[in-house]
Symmetry: C2
Subunit: 428 residues, 2 copies
């Protein structure tokens, strides 16, 4: 038995290492393509997914059966499920990525030094990107094609429940690349559900993985950030705040809070904590509270909020640090901008925070002082989305502090190199 | 004894955690300053270092005595040594950093979406930067002030041999900040030579360190990359290549190779491997070889090079992967551009590689295909330096693939956030 286990582990090591080598080779081949080749590949992938819809839906039915037998909850089943409309959505997403400007090779800066050396900062791919995600099959297509748009090779590791659906999608994507005489290994899916495969990816596959992008819940992202030996573009939770200032327009405040919380409660940009200035809480909080309650939202308030709206549950310390992703909202009454800033500094996950006010000076202070990837004035936190930014598509919202913050689209999956052109310059 | 050790370890943990907390607080305070405040602080630091020169030189004498007693070699002693001229150089470096454009708050991009939302990508500091370096006292001033220029708080950990010199420098820098009513904890030096302190920094001091920048030899950087639990802006070795093409101008080739190798052999941009096209090796390699030998360089060639210049030592496989940082050069004869590209792909550390040719088409292929942070045409690899790029100062040359590649100056020590200004927009 020991011998068998060792063999299996050795086999997995070898399988993963070989996958890394193929990804590196594909990444180098991608570097020699031009934008038109990548666009051609993306269009072919969109067509291939459309053509393979019956096979993809059939694979998804099997995933769904297995997931039901495993007792997955309704929300997880919903994320896993595909139907013709959702496959159409995946195809439309790939077509949108095909239509994006190609980010590779563009000159980000160019200047000449007094000695005549000509410097250019030129965008290049990151290389090989390992993407570890949960059981949403659309991520397989989104992530694979965003990597291709940005000249990167992708090693995809999906949640085990979506393996059949993801394989069917990747088969279609790879066939399209092969038919177009492009490197199929630009998009690879880890074939095993063995969790040890994730460990291999996090160790970097002998230097063949340049970046890991985790996309999923807190436990996944935390494991990746703890164990990764290669750089991570991390996506932690969205513990988003909205601060309603004394000089807020009351109707805007109601509309913005309700939209930020209730438009979709399961997305990372949904509101989790409402902060309201004590100066207007007496009059405005009851109106906002009623609008939220009418929309089906549970409120959990601090002591001052509950004096004003006694029907609220009492918030505990834990509520300020909880990403509900559900129709629940924590509510605190604060003393003006400074009170709001102190609460946000203590509790924000650095994702998205918003202020509602008609006072431009207060707004600019909030925008300058809140250190989150996205800060908004008089706008819903639900705009935290690459599409809403005009990026076309995103692989997630980065909450780390290096490389990229906020929506990570094709442009954020690139880096640069310096191209220096001389005429024989030596350094004195 | 056990109890004492535990207490000491617990004390160190507490000391380092407190240092992290002070750095975070200083980082937040820095975020509220404007560019003029940072410039004022930098000018005061330059003046304070100049005024403290006697104390700094006295501390350095003690470091040097201790280092000689420990038997450090001449190269290490040279890096450690200060004299009045070197202190003047440090002051001039800080003054140059004070004169740099402040990178914080600049709008990197701004656009409006059809719904009227106004998006701005605005440069912000990284936060708290931990810098781990070896025994060059000037790094203490360079790194601390580059961090201040870019709005970051610095936690500096110098090599143990330079502790007294670095303390004297940091005392002057902190006094200057205090006198200017700026947060002195923007620049902190780890007070202990206990190596466990580095482990604490790599673990992130309870989330108070945002980025680690290692600056030093391969073993230091590799330890940091292996153990860090926070993002690293890595600086690996410079295994730089120069490819002399068939269509190279012979005199430029000689001048560039000799300059790239011999101007300073101990810097990361110095040439380590010469590749020469077989088409011109018979005539050009003897000339280049003589020029190098006359300049005091030892040559180690592959079989084809040694047929042409039999006096060369034979290169082993190890030579292609060695950063000599010494007057030694590996030499290989290759078959044209493809041969050069294959060698570089196999052996380059992704730092700096150069081509010498008068054929613009071949040059552009080389510049496009070589995937290094810096690629040059008809220019010496010794230009791999932030000052030569016009960055004013650098904390090192990044060889990783995320966040920054090449010289890391003040601008590269920043990230951005998105500021979104609306008029009440909700997301449909």
């Amino acid at each position: 038995m020991t011998v068998e286990t060792e063999n299996t582990a050795a086999d997995l090591t070898e399988t993963m290492r070989a996958m890394g080598g193929r990804a590196r080779a594909a990444s180098r081949a991608l570097g020699r393509l031009d934008a038109a080749d990548r666009t051609r590949g993306l269009k072919a992938i969109a067509a291939a997914i459309r053509a393979a819809a019956p096979a993809i839906l059939d694979a998804n039915l099997k995933d769904m059966d297995a997931a039901r037998n495993k007792g997955l909850d309704a929300a997880m089943l919903d994320r896993l499920a595909l139907d013709e409309g959702r496959v159409d959505g995946i195809v439309a997403g790939v077509e949108a990525i095909a239509a994006l400007p190609d980010p590779i090779g563009r000159e980000m800066a160019r200047w000449t030094q007094p000695n005549g050396l000509d410097f250019a900062r030129v965008a290049v791919p990151l290389g090989v990107i390992g993407i570890i995600y949960e059981s949403r099959p659309n991520v397989t297509a989104d992530a694979g094609t965003l990597c291709l748009r940005s000249g990167n090779a992708a090693i995809l590791r999906c949640g085990s429940e979506s393996t059949r659906s993801s394989h069917a999608l990747v088969d279609a994507m790879r066939s399209a690349l092969t038919n177009e005489n492009l490197p199929a290994d630009a998009i690879q899916l880890v074939g095993t559900t063995d969790r040890a495969a994730v460990g291999h990816m996090l160790a970097g596959l002998d230097g063949q993985v340049d970046v890991i992008v985790p996309r999923g819940g807190r436990s996944l992202v935390e494991r990746v950030q703890k164990d990764a030996r290669v750089p991570v573009i991390g996506h932690l939770e969205g513990l988003c705040h909205m601060y309603v200032d004394a000089v807020a327009d009351p109707q805007k405040a109601v509309d913005l809070v309700v939209n930020a919380k209730m438009r979709r409660t399961g997305v990372c940009g949904s509101l989790e904590t409402l902060l309201i200035d004590a100066a207007v809480a007496d009059t405005l909080l009851p109106v906002i509270g009623t609008a939220l309650t009418d929309a089906g939202c549970e409120l959990r308030g601090d002591a001052r909020a509950r004096v004003i709206v006694p029907s609220m549950k009492a918030a505990t310390e834990e509520d300020w640090g909880t990403e509900y992703l559900a129709p629940v909202l924590a509510v605190a009454v604060v003393d003006g901008l400074d009170g709001a800033l102190a609460h946000i500094e203590r509790w924000s996950s650095g994702h998205t925070d918003s202020i509602v006010t008609e006072d431009a000076g207060v707004a600019e202070k909030f925008l300058a002082r809140v250190d989150s990837a996205i800060v908004l004035h008089n706008a819903s936190t639900q705009f935290a989305d690459g599409g809403e930014f005009g990026f076309g598509a995103e692989i997630g919202i980065a909450t780390g502090r290096i490389h990229a913050r906020g929506p990570v689209g094709a442009e954020q999956l690139t880096i640069y190199k310096y191209v220096v052109r001389g005429t024989g310059q030596t350094r004195p």
